[in-house]
């Protein structure tokens, strides 16, 4: 047999290697910085600021917005999925480096972080700590400036978010620390601002940079006993940037000490309450502050398409490659082993049984967000047609022909390779085609867990009932499927002997 089969594992391994090393967003990892940000407005704005600043210095940078929570971003940074992201010192101390009990001084963090290969800028300025607030006019009228001043007014109505009410370091301990006599009640956080505005509440808990502080003209009560930990915003970055992208770190450090709390409040309000595009809010700020002229045009359609395509290709390519590498051997084992066979087929059926949506949701706790769980889920999905058609393809071979192969004294491996797989190739290729189609379709769900791809415009489009956006994902997914299918057909034509083609 001198026609190399596309079932040759070397072929698949090459694909997978190529894709595993393909960087996120389809860009060149080494020279492009990836800034991450957490899932809330302020952090996204900071992410954009960093990105715009870098771009203004002609340092290629992309921003992966709204990736998830602290844990996830930290892991992504350490693994190198992202190069920098905005973090808060309090979070660092109390969550990320919690088991090291580091004294609350930035320099002690620095040392701990450096060990892990992570650097930290000086604080950007504001301290987004937990705080208590009340209407400014009300505070003025009662002459209240600090938390301690509340003591003089035990009749004030305090309403705190349920979380703050319950937490050990929340209200009960605050009450003790400042020796307050008030009783507080739990309110929904969204309703708390309203309650303050309508006068049903006098004091609520808030974050020091909340957009609503400006909007409702609130006073943040000073925490004279430093009861609340400091949450100064900083940028964390990978220390290898120093050599990898010279100038990147110093550019990020230009933000140091540039954003006082009230500025951040205004920016937050602009993004959150006026619904201005976050990238634009950040760009305007950066331009004004540093005298730059960054434009924050939203990506053109082509740029977006390129990005979605790159992400989708990585998802599809990786997961299909792995599914082939796993699926064909599993199908072979299923066909060859009398008792293991049915078990394998059933287990794979059961996995498939888990709806894509739920599978993705279940992947997140163990694997976090992003590409890893998405690829894992997609592999599990693409396995079924590959394994099953490999199985039936091998099982359907004619017994006299198998007997002939045995009689030649071909060892099991060579028999599989030279006789069985080639004769089952049409069936296996059929399964591959189904897998390709399933995979490309299912990969659109990857956007649900932050893996990007064509699902991103589709999801947004569905939420906004915007057909244009939906098509922006659907049409290229369709084109991609057709391309993949004709590639497979081409391979089939090139590699299958004439007599086995339809």
């Amino acid at each position: 047999m001198n026609t190399p089969s596309i079932l040759d594992p070397r072929f698949s391994i090459l694909i997978v290697l190529a894709l595993l090393t393909a960087p996120a967003q389809g860009q060149d990892k080494d020279s492009t910085l990836t800034i991450g940000s957490k899932k809330f407005t302020e952090n996204v704005l900071l992410g954009w600021m960093g990105t715009h600043l870098l771009q203004a210095q002609s340092i290629p940078a992309t921003h992966r917005e709204e990736l998830g929570g602290s844990r996830f971003l930290w892991e992504a940074l350490v693994r190198g999925d992202i190069d920098a992201y905005p973090e808060y010192t309090g979070t660092l101390r109390l969550e990320i480096l919690a088991d090291r009990s580091i004294p609350p001084h930035p320099d002690s963090f620095r040392a701990a972080l450096a060990e892990i290969g992570v650097g930290m800028t000086a604080p950007i300025g504001f301290n987004n700590t937990y705080a208590l607030g009340m209407r400014a006019d009300h505070a003025d009228s009662l002459d209240i400036e600090t938390i301690r001043d509340l003591r003089a007014h035990p009749d004030l109505r305090l309403g705190f978010s349920n979380e703050f009410m319950d937490r050990a370091d929340g209200w009960p301990s605050l009450k003790r620390t400042y020796n307050l006599s008030h009783t507080a009640r739990g309110v929904d956080h969204d309703l708390a601002y309203r309650g303050l505005a309508t006068g049903q509440l006098d004091v609520i808990d808030l974050y020091a940079t909340d957009a609503e502080i400006k909007r409702y003209d609130l006073r943040v009560l000073r925490d004279t006993k430093q009861y609340f930990p400091t949450y100064k915003a900083v940028f964390l970055y990978r220390r290898d940037l120093q050599t990898r992208v010279p100038g990147a770190i110093s550019t990020l450090r230009r933000l140091e000490d540039r954003i006082p709390a009230d500025t951040m409040q205004v920016l937050n309000a602009r993004a959150k309450i006026d619904q201005t595009d976050g990238s634009q809010v950040a760009a305007r700020f950066v331009n004004r502050t540093f005298g730059l002229a960054t434009t924050a045009d939203p990506d053109t359609r082509w740029e977006r398409l390129r990005r979605y395509t790159a992400d989708h290709l990585v998802l599809v390519g990786l997961s299909l490659g792995l599914a082939i590498l796993l699926g064909i051997p599993l199908g072979i084992v299923a066909a060859k082993r009398r008792f293991l066979g049915p078990t394998i087929l059933t287990v794979i059926g059961v996995i498939y049984t888990i709806p894509a949506l739920a599978l993705l949701a279940m992947m997140v706790p163990p694997l976090g967000l992003g590409r890893v769980p998405a690829v894992t889920a997609l592999v599990l999905y693409s396995l079924l047609p590959i394994v099953w058609t490999t199985y039936t393809g091998l099982k359907d071979l004619s017994p006299p022909l198998l007997e002939s192969a045995d009689a030649l004294g071909l060892p099991a491996g060579a028999k599989l390779w030279r006789i069985e797989l080639p004769m089952a190739a049409r069936s296996i290729l059929g399964g591959l085609k189904i897998a390709v189609v399933i995979n490309i379709g299912a990969a659109t769900l990857g956007a649900l867990i932050g893996a990007g791809g064509y699902g991103q415009p589709i999801l947004t489009g569905i939420r906004r009932a915007n057909l244009g956006l939906i098509l922006e994902g659907t049409v290229p997914a369709g084109v991609l499927t057709l391309l993949a299918l004709s590639l497979l057909e081409g391979l089939e034509r090139a590699l299958l002997p004439r007599s086995m083609q339809s």
Partner: protein, 251 residues
């Protein structure tokens, strides 16, 4: 060289080979004859280990067949199944040279060997580039024969290898094969329904009936000293080629 000792093989609904013992003498040709369904193909399958006996042992070159040695033994045995068993995804050439590719022969060596074999089986070498489905029945049978002979095995198990050949090619091949078998001292087990062919090849004939051996002897003994009338009937029944020339029924 091949010994069957108390071998028995039963399928779901019937006994294909009743308990029998059989010595296949080395370097000679043993011909299996017998009615359809009498177990000839089953015996060949037992000898090459494609099926395992329900009772008894099969010994090849002094080694009882086992999973451990069957592979290696098969490389020294050539087998042609009744319907040829050519692989549809391979051309005639790749079918014939399959084991040569497996053992990594050089292309030159493969070509040379294929040339010898096409000469031997009188196949137009151009045919080798066709798929089995594009060959005539007789052409297919000759490719099967080439595949079995490729590694120059000591033992040949041939299940009606010449059945679909025309008389001329068949006669030529009979001559050539017998010469080769004798000169190179091959151990051959040959199944045929043609008594002429059986007598021509067989140093030793084994007449099977219902899974049992009715008689085993050289041809003259079968003719002159038959074990039963069945033997005589079986041997005498075939029409000679020009038998009916003077047939009075003919208009």
């Amino acid at each position: 060289m091949i010994t069957l000792d108390g071998v028995r093989k039963e399928y779901e609904n019937e006994v294909a080979v009743r308990t029998l013992s059989l010595q296949v003498p080395p370097q000679q040709t043993t011909v299996l004859i017998g009615p359809s369904g009498s177990g000839k193909s089953t015996l060949l399958r037992l000898m090459i280990g494609l099926i395992t006996p329900d009772a008894g042992t099969v010994t090849v070159n002094g080694q009882p067949l086992s999973d451990a040695n069957v592979q290696a033994l098969r490389h020294r045995m050539g087998y042609v199944i009744q319907e040829g068993g050519l692989f549809p995804h391979l051309t005639g050439r790749d079918n014939a040279a399959l084991m040569a590719h497996h053992f990594g022969w050089s292309q030159a060596r493969i070509d040379a060997r294929l040339n010898e074999l096409t000469d031997l089986v009188q196949l137009n070498p151009d045919r080798l580039s066709q798929s089995p489905s594009e060959l005539s029945g007789g052409q297919r049978q000759r490719v099967s024969l080439m595949r079995a002979l490729l590694l120059d095995p000591d033992v040949l198990l041939l299940d009606e290898p010449l059945g679909a050949l025309d008389p001329m090619v068949r006669a030529d091949l009979q001559d050539d094969l017998r010469t080769i078998f004798r000169r190179l001292g091959k151990t051959v087990v040959f199944v045929t329904h043609d008594i002429g062919e059986a007598g021509f090849f067989g140093d030793h004939l084994v007449l099977l009936r219902d899974g049992a051996i009715e008689q085993q002897d050289p041809m003259p003994a079968l003719v002159h000293d038959p074990a039963s009338t069945f033997v005589t009937d079986f041997i005498d029944v075939q029409r000679a080629p020009l038998d009916h020339l003077g047939d009075e029924n003919r208009e």
